[in-house]
Symmetry: C2
Subunit: 476 residues, 2 copies
């Protein structure tokens, strides 16, 4: 027998690309293994995974919030409340008891849409955030936001001519998921010179082009705060976007997973699309995604998140329910994580002070580090970097010297891939080249996270590498 050949497999899946964990990330893992050897021969002694927003990974400094983990530990083994009562603040024990009453065992399947009590708490969180009602029956708890995005895209793509508007640059989950369900990405560009602003006119232009090409636009993806850009949308733009979706009968998919990562909240606040849709009294179908993986929670490994549907018909909700029921239920550990995120300790409760201290510190460190990194990167020749107002990343633009571009071409690489591979080889720092997120022809960028501690050493290594690279290829 000839065995299972790749060319016999789903052609849509063959086309999927996902750079965040692509060639560079795989090479970084190989280096990490090699570093365990005594004579590894590498010019660095640790690999720094700046390719992925993974705040709690080894070597980074964002510890889990104690409150979340105390609740989780008691949920795992409720007997601890009796065996070690003094190890836990009183409000934690009460919280865990309440959750146990509502959920039962973490080891049981829950309602496929998520534990009803937790969905009620999510609805209250949304109501408090926006000032408009939220219906727990329109909320689906998920295994991270990506599971929800995948569900929605798979449901919306009804033919190979179905398209979804995607920002460029974008988190490649969107193009990867679209490719796997044979949908067409309709790219619209964000404006780097205006701090990566979203332009309704550019969206409209992309829409018209798609219609001319015989594509049927189904939905519009907006990432706010932006990934990889860190940009925040203002309300006027958001209103334009909603009106555009109304005109073209588009579902608005609002990726709002970084809503709690705001570095300058006074000048660059977060407003949800749900609030705008309600303010405008719009009937645009909206699905907004949130996650426990980002923010100050940073609990990526639990796989928790939710999406809220607004203006979605009951028969469509029933269809979504049917599909999540095939997957049984989202992980209970993630669901409990969602509850902790939307219901943190209140002032006056025993856990409040520590929770406040920990979350304030995380916000402050991330904002300061982002600012400092952007400043230092902007001082480098051939680098310009929009100072991100939110999320976890910077997305500097590189002017790649002609000699480097020629060398990249000869090596069969995009110029920014070529740059990022050398950065990894020389420093152990793993970033994602801009070609993985999308950019205009001839441009070069890379995305790096602002999560790494020891910012002096880290930025110092980036600077030294960059200057060496520029010299090597005649750019200085």
């Amino acid at each position: 027998m000839r065995g299972l050949q790749v060319d016999a497999l789903n052609p849509s899946i063959l086309k999927v690309q996902y750079a965040v964990r692509g060639e560079l990330a795989i090479k970084a893992e190989e280096y990490r293994e090699r570093l365990k050897e005594a004579n590894h021969g590498l010019p660095f002694d640790k690999v720094i995974s700046s390719n992925i927003g993974n705040p709690q990974q080894k070597g980074l400094d964002q510890a889990p919030i104690t409150f979340n983990r105390q609740v989780a530990a008691l949920m795992e083994w409720p007997a601890l409340a009796e065996l070690a009562p003094n190890a836990f603040p009183k409000d934690i024990i009460a919280r865990a008891k309440e959750l146990q009453h509502e959920i039962g065992s973490l080891g049981a399947y829950s309602h496929s849409q998520g534990v009803p009590f937790i969905r009620q708490n999510v609805a209250k969180f949304i109501e408090k955030r926006d000032g408009y009602p939220s219906n727990p029956n329109h909320i689906f708890l998920t295994g991270g936001a990506s599971a929800g995005v995948s569900l929605l895209i798979s449901t919306l793509i009804s033919s190979p001519k179905s398209g979804i508007l995607i920002p460029i640059p974008q988190y490649p989950l969107y193009t990867a998921t679209l490719a796997s369900f044979s949908g067409v990405p309709i790219p619209y560009h964000l404006d780097e010179v205006s701090e990566w602003a979203t332009s309704p006119r550019d969206i409209d232009g992309a829409l018209q082009k798609a219609l001319d090409d015989g594509i049927e636009p189904k939905a519009l993806v907006i990432i706010n705060p932006g990934n990889p850009t860190g940009a925040l949308l203002d309300e006027a733009t958001m209103e334009h976007v909603v009106r555009l979706c109304e005109q073209h009968n588009l579902v608005l998919l609002a990726d709002e997973v970084y809503q709690a990562n705001l570095h300058r909240p006074t000048t660059h606040p977060f407003t949800s699309f749900k609030k705008i849709v309600r303010q405008l009294n719009s009937r645009v179908p909206l699905v907004s995604f949130h996650s426990i993986s980002k923010g100050v929670t940073g609990e990526c490994g639990r796989r928790g998140g939710y999406f809220e549907c607004a203006n979605i018909r009951d028969d469509v909700l029933a269809l979504l329910y049917k599909m999540v029921s095939v997957g049984l239920c989202p992980p209970l550990s993630g669901q409990v994580g969602v509850d902790c995120m939307v219901r943190p300790p209140k002032e006056g409760e025993e856990s409040y002070a520590l929770w406040k201290k920990e979350t304030d510190a995380t916000h402050a460190v991330l904002a300061a580090r982002t600012k400092l990194m952007a400043e230092r990167l902007n001082q480098l020749p051939g680098v310009s970097c929009v100072d991100s107002a939110g999320a976890l990343y910077l997305y500097p633009k590189l002017t790649i010297p002609d000699q480097a571009a020629a060398a990249a071409l000869a090596a069969g690489k995009q110029p920014d891939e070529f740059y990022a591979l050398q950065l990894l080889d020389e420093t152990g720092i793993c970033v994602v080249p801009g070609s993985g997120f999308g950019q205009k022809d001839g441009e070069a960028h890379y995305r790096l996270t602002c999560l790494c501690p020891g910012v002096e050493e880290y930025v110092g290594a980036l600077e030294a590498f960059h200057l060496g690279f520029m010299k090597r290829y005649g750019g200085l």
Copy 2:
């Protein structure tokens, strides 16, 4: 604007059917809510969810294994080892420290294929079980077995003419997933009169028919121990099946999630397909699935499991890796659960005695209850029930009286749906009609779990209902 209409959505997703959480399950949830009211007016005081193998759900008696939860609690909040050292056996503290060293925080994304150390432990477990080597790089940890099944089916279906052989009756995950990726189910029937045996001749017949119909068979699904049948395959049959896959170049998808649920292991032991494939020195591509949701672990809510690939080419493995990386990683809580399942306490360790006691008790209770329920069901007029040798279910066959069949037709229901709806309405017991699993034309079955405590009361209610139903429709 007209809003988002169902008929604009993915037609494949519209076609998906999944009875385990379908009309009956939804009605059961409504009854459960109604029972909270003082004057609920229902003829029962609790809903018994026998529709789903969910051992730890409220009202059932399979408690989590203490060992698993102690490890999990320490992983969630490692400070407990210092704050409450006496609450934990020494070997648990050592185990958690080892896992923390390998994993880091449960809140960080792991390797997309799962934590390497845990995959090594899975490989050792498989080697010990089968006596043949297992490669950790060919193992993918997953969020329950269903996530792995979905990945494999989505990868294998390359056109709307791609088919997958599915046993009838089957756990409807398979047909649901196939439908959502526009693949064709190729049904082969299990033989009820031979204790639901798998017949290679029937598989071959189904294959030939599919080929005549222009379908390209891609894979063969075998569920062993069977769901819903509880049947165990013997080695001779397994060898036949492997040879058949070789002849027809089929990937063998072995759903072995119930491998630890054996009620008569001496006469009906479990043998893995991996072992048979190696014994035969076969090159058939094999993917076998396991889960922490079943067995004595019963940790459905954690969403943990794995699949092992054998005879799968590296480029196909790379493709699977790419796709799991888009979903980032399986839940860490489930991964730790997998580690506990494949590495239980050893004799001599402090936790061993309790672990042994708990797991022995669960095995014994389930075996005794299954036997008793089968005996009692077989004594009912119009019921015959193969005494299940494994898994968590019975799948009794009903002879539905003609008057009941006519009443079902008039109500627009299948006869077994009609029966199951009345069972729920009268007793609060929720089962899944056989039409949800597939059966021969004119037959009627239902699946019920053997997880319910208070077996006298439970079987008594089933008996009383059945006799009443038969009388009502002239069957007695």
